[in-house]
Structures are given as C-alpha cells and as structure tokens.
C-alpha cells in the first residue's frame, strides 16, 4: 500500500470524485489557482477547470448557495478554510441544509459536503485554532465525520461526496502532513463506523480526530506502567457508533472520552452521556472527560499548551478512572 500524506489522501478523494461524477464541483477560498492554503486541492483546477472555483470571502452566502445547488442536481464540495469560520455557515446548515430532507422528504436530495479544519497547536490564536465539533454534531439531519488517518481521510471524504445527505468533514491542521498507508482502489469508508485503533483491556480511550493520536501516545505511556488502554477512533461524530463504544466499555469497564472542542456542552459531554445511557452497568468508575479548557484559545505557546488537551492530560484522566 502506498504511504501518503493526509492532505494527499484528501486530494486523491476529490480527484476521484471529480473524475467519476460530472455533477461534483469544488469551491472555496484560495482553492483553485493556489491549490488551497493547506494544499488539499492542489492540481484540481488544472485537471477539472471551472468545476474547481476560487470564491470571494463569502462563507455565509456560499454555504447557502451550495445547499441549493446540491438540491438541484449538483454535488458541491465547499471548503471553509478554518472551523473558526463555521459560525458564518451555520444558518445554511441549521435552518436550510438539515431540514429539507425531513420537511420535503424524498422530493429532494442534498448531496452537499462541507470540508473544514480546526484545532490548535500552531499559534494561530483565538480566531484560528478552535474545534467547533459540537456546533455541527448538534444538528439533526447532518452527518459529521472526522478522519485521523490518511486512509480514512480518503475513504470518508469519498463516502461524504457520494452520500445523498449533507455531510460535514472535520479535518485538523496538524494532520495534513502526517503520513499513512492508503489502500489502492479508492473504496469509500462507511460513515458511522468507529475503529479500534489499539486494542486493550483496562481502560477505553474514546477519541476523535487528532486526539486519537494523543490517546495513542497516552496508551504508550500507560503501557509502561502495565496498563493496557484500548483506543477507539470514532471517525464519525454523527451518526455515532454506539455499539463500538459499548463493546469497548463492556470489556474495560473504564472510559475516558477525549475531544478537542470545549468541554461544556461539548462533544465529549455527549460521549459521556452516551456511555451513561448505554453502558452504565458496565462501568467501574465515572467516565472521565478530557477537552479543551473552557476559554478562548490563547496565542503564546505556554498558554495554548495549557488549554489544548494532550497525552499527559489523558494519562491523568485514565489513572483517575482506574484509581
């Protein structure tokens, strides 16, 4: 299997979708001539011409337009450069894209994909480092995926484009240069299925997006003390793979949930509640929640480091659960 970068894997999915389906088009800021600020759309303009478009800085309108373009026979893939700009798209998501599938039934399809990237770690400050997962995962009628491996990046983006419903793809700025094996052949990865990233029997570390890598690092450190942590990569935030979570907790009886959004009303809170709803009897200890501290993301490195979750905080949480 070829080893490629996460950004290249996304590029491959877009290339494949544009090649296979003439209804697919890609739009966003700086994505065509420049190939995207994270180079995800590199080369697509040359290959597909006008189906790959640079736009003015108009997130609110573009999202609304993409929704109705999807409703009327095309398959738009819209890039929103930073997840921090998602609030500008929210009306089109929460009042438009997500409601018609229910209100109007199968008269309309909404094969609309919104790609964005969030997360801290690069010193980009309070308006360019957030993860607003819960903003979108909260909305009935949307699907939300968050691949962490290059293979899933390719497979889930492809599945998102092929899906008849609106899908938000959450990427992470620190993942674009990570590498991994990606199978040839370009098969989609099923939306709604979690993955056991590392098996273990003592504690379940249930994580999303880049936090899966922190959980894996935490599992390495826990292993040094003889603790076998199981790492679950959720891959899809909505619809949630409850069975994968309950299967793991039934085995380990201890759970740490990890997400880079804020804690309060955040995605980790939903995971915690889900475990309470579905696996309470299996728990030997309260669920531990690890999330970004409830405050704006600061700029300076020591401050940002103190706010974003990391392996050390996950280790602490696991030890608390096991205490």
């Amino acid at each position: 299997m070829p080893v490629i970068r996460y950004a290249e894997a996304l590029n491959a999915a877009l290339y494949q979708a544009l090649s296979e389906d003439p209804r697919v088009f890609v739009l966003g800021e700086d994505i065509a001539q420049y190939g995207g600020v994270f180079k995800v759309t590199k080369g697509l303009r040359d290959a597909f011409g006008d189906r790959v478009r640079d736009t003015p800085i108009s997130e609110q309108t573009l999202t609304a337009m993409a929704v109705t373009a999807a409703m009327t026979g095309t398959r738009p893939v819209l890039e929103i450069m930073y997840a921090d700009f998602m609030p500008l798209t929210l009306d089109a998501l929460v009042n438009q894209a997500s409601v018609y599938g229910y209100l109007w039934g199968d008269q309309v399809e909404l094969p609309f994909v919104l790609r964005t990237q969030g997360g801290g770690g690069l010193g980009t400050g309070a308006q360019h480092a957030k993860s607003l997962d819960s903003f979108v995962a909260h909305i009935p009628g949307l699907k939300v995926v968050a691949p962490v491996t290059p293979a899933d990046a390719r497979g889930l983006l492809l599945a998102a484009i092929q899906d008849p419903a609106p899908v938000v793809v959450l990427e992470h700025k620190l993942l674009y240069n990570t590498r991994g094996e990606v199978p040839d052949g370009g098969a989609p990865v099923e939306i709604g299925r979690a993955r056991v990233a590392r098996p273990g029997r003592d504690v379940s570390l249930i994580a999303t997006s880049r936090m899966v890598l922190e959980a894996e690092a935490a599992a390495d450190r826990l292993a040094e003390s003889g603790i076998e942590a199981e790492v679950i990569d959720l891959r899809t935030l909505r619809p949630l793979d409850v069975a994968a979570i309950t299967a793991s907790v039934a085995k380990t009886h201890h759970a740490v949930v990890i997400n880079e959004d804020w804690g309060f009303c955040g995605y980790a809170a939903e995971l915690s509640a889900t475990i309470m709803d579905h696996a309470f009897d299996d728990l030997d200890a309260p669920v531990e929640r690890v999330a970004t501290r409830d405050m704006p993301i600061p700029y300076a490195q020591p401050l940002e480091d103190a706010v974003i979750p990391n392996a050390a905080r996950i280790v602490h949480a696991a030890l608390r659960a096991l205490a």
């Binding site: 800021e29 001539q33 003015p56 800085i57 400050g125 405050m295 949480a317 030890l319």
Partner: protein
C-alpha cells in the same frame, strides 16, 4: 490613482508629517525584524506583514485623537503604531510575551488597547467593519464627539457584513469612516477575481455616501482624505468610504510560499514605496538631515523594542474565571480524586 484624488485640503503640518514618517519607519522596521526572526524560527504562527502599506494605517490614525476609535485587520501593525501604541509592548505581544499589551494572549492579529481607542486587530475577515460601526453607534447614542474608523481589506469588502454595515451606518448617519485598504489581494486571489467592479469605492453610491479613491502609498493623501471624512462624521453627516490603493509587498503572511504576484507589479509598487514617497516630500520641505534623524530615531526605537521584548519572560498560564462554565465547583468523589482533579 491620479484621477480621483481628494482636493488638497487638510494638509498635515510638517510636524505631523514627520510624526507619520517616523511611525511608518517604525512599522517597517518591525516588519523587517519580524521577517528576520521568522526565518530564524523565532516567531510563532503566521505573521501578516504590512510592508509597503504603512501609509494607510499610519496616515489614517494620525487624524484621530486618543478618544477616537479604530478597528483593523489581521494586518494591523501600522494601525497599532499609528494610533500611538508603544512599539515595545506591541512587539512583546507579537512575540507572545507577558509584557505585551495583552500578555501574549492575543498575539499579533488580535491586539487591543482600550486606552488608545484601538479595539483592535481582528482576524475574522470583515469583522472589523461592523465593529467600528457599533462603536460609532455608541458614540451617537452617547452624543459624544468621537469617530470610529474601520480599516479593512479588498477581500473583506466582498463579505456580506460589509454591505450590511455600510447600509446601517448610512441609514443611521453613524460617525464612521470605512477605510478600504486595497492591496490587490485577498490571500492568494487577486481582487479582480473577487469583485465584479474594479473600483471598489464606487459602491459608496449604493449607500448614498461619498466614496473616493486615493493613493494609499502617499501618507499625506491618506491623511487628507481621512481628515475630510472624519470632519464629515463629526458634523453628524454620516459615513464615508475611502478606497486607498496600495500593494502587498511581502506576501500574505510569513507562511506564504508566494509565486503568484508578478515581478512587474512588485517592481512598479516598490518604486512607489510609501517611505520613499514620504521621504522625497519631506526632504524637499525640511532637508535630508532632519529626515535622516527621524529615521535613525525610528531604527533605535525598533532595536530597543526587540531587544527588550526578546529578553522578556513568556507568560504563565492562568485560568480565566469569566469563561468558566460552572458557577460552583464540580463534583468531587473522594479526597484522592479531588486532589487529582487539581493536578489536571
């Protein structure tokens, strides 16, 4: 740029011009030093330099009093220095030090100083526009003699909130000046690929407000145009739109790999560098010695600012109680657990 220059009213005094020249030189010195530090791996995150655009931020803010408000963009260093902020504390903030204006929390894009009416840098494109309009609304409601200036880019001019802000400001005759800094690019996309009209100031007609296009590389022209718009705002006649034509010389940010701005354009604009333009005018009126002395003073201020800021301590993390989600402390299950929670 020749056709639409404002009339030669509101000429700044020689002293004002010298002050503006010094502030432009300080800004340029900061940008160049940041570029060097970036290359040496000593900065953090992308930094958006304003080399070649200093006349816009400096010329506009020179018109304002300390009570007047200004909002700016992710590329706001000229506005920070122009509004009279201390270069040493600006540099410390950009370098993420405890001694910066915001203790390293804000960084170079989001710096704010209420005492200077500089509120502030803003990295959500377009957000600086309603921000200034809201301050102008407050001024109007409180019947104060203040104005607010919104600095924003050609990219920001294409946002929805730009339209909404201009309509509201004109409708309510708010004391605000819309200063559109057209540096020809929104990130990597030329403004001609973002706007159906080439001359962005013509949009003012749609809001029934005056719109002018000026040479944004001539600090005197910027000063004059903004002074006229500020006077109109103070008279209660409402907003104006000024399109300052300039050019981005050092790429979008320190992480821009470039290659999409033409050498010919760069050369043409380099010849019209705002410091060169300003220097030529000043040498004629006060002589080369005086101008060189001002520039030497600026260089010293910049060197001292970096020397001090680089030696300053990094900030120490503290929680932010106002952002905290729980009114009362969370549940504690056993003493050991409570202690462990403190450790996280």
């Amino acid at each position: 740029m020749s056709a639409d220059l404002t009339p030669l009213a509101n000429r700044p005094s020689i002293d004002d011009h010298l002050t503006m020249h010094r502030r432009m030189a300080i800004t340029r010195g900061i940008e160049q030093e940041l570029g060097a530090l970036h290359k040496a791996g000593r900065t953090r995150g992308p930094i958006h330099r304003c080399d070649g655009q200093e006349a816009v931020g400096v010329g506009a803010t020179a018109v304002l009093t300390a009570d007047d408000y200004v909002t700016t963009t992710h590329r706001g260093h000229a506005v920070y220095i122009g509004k009279g902020l201390d270069p040493r504390k600006v540099v410390a903030e950009i370098l993420g030090r405890e001694t910066g204006y915001n203790g390293g929390r804000a960084g170079h894009m989001l710096l704010g100083s209420a005492a200077h009416g500089m509120l502030g840098g803003n990295a959500i494109v377009g957000a600086s526009i309603p921000a200034a309009a809201g301050m102008a609304l407050s001024v109007q409601l409180r019947r104060q003699d203040r104005v607010a200036v919104a600095v924003f880019g050609d990219g920001a001019a294409q946002t929805g909130i730009c339209h909404e802000s201009m309509n509201l400001a004109a409708l309510w005759r708010l004391p605000v000046v819309f200063l559109l800094e057209n540096n020809e690019y929104g990130l990597t996309v030329p403004y001609t690929a973002q706007s159906a009209v080439r001359d962005l100031h013509v949009r003012a007609a749609g809001y029934d407000m005056p719109g002018v296009q000026i040479d944004g590389n001539d600090v005197v022209a910027v000063h004059q145009a903004v002074a006229a718009a500020v006077q109109r705002a103070r008279r209660g006649e409402g907003p104006s739109l000024i399109e300052a034509r300039t050019y981005r010389m050092e790429g979008f940010s320190t992480s821009d790999v470039g290659g999409y701005q033409s050498e010919a354009d760069l050369a043409r604009w380099r010849a019209r560098d705002p410091l060169t333009v300003s220097r030529a005018a000043l040498v004629e009126s006060v002589g080369a010695d005086r101008v060189e002395a001002v520039e030497a003073e600026a260089a010293e201020i910049v060197a001292a600012a970096f020397a001090a800021a680089l030696a300053d301590p990094p900030p120490r993390f503290a929680p932010h109680p106002a952002s905290a989600p729980y009114a009362t402390p969370g549940p504690v299950r056993g003493a050991a657990r409570g202690a462990a929670l403190g450790a996280a």
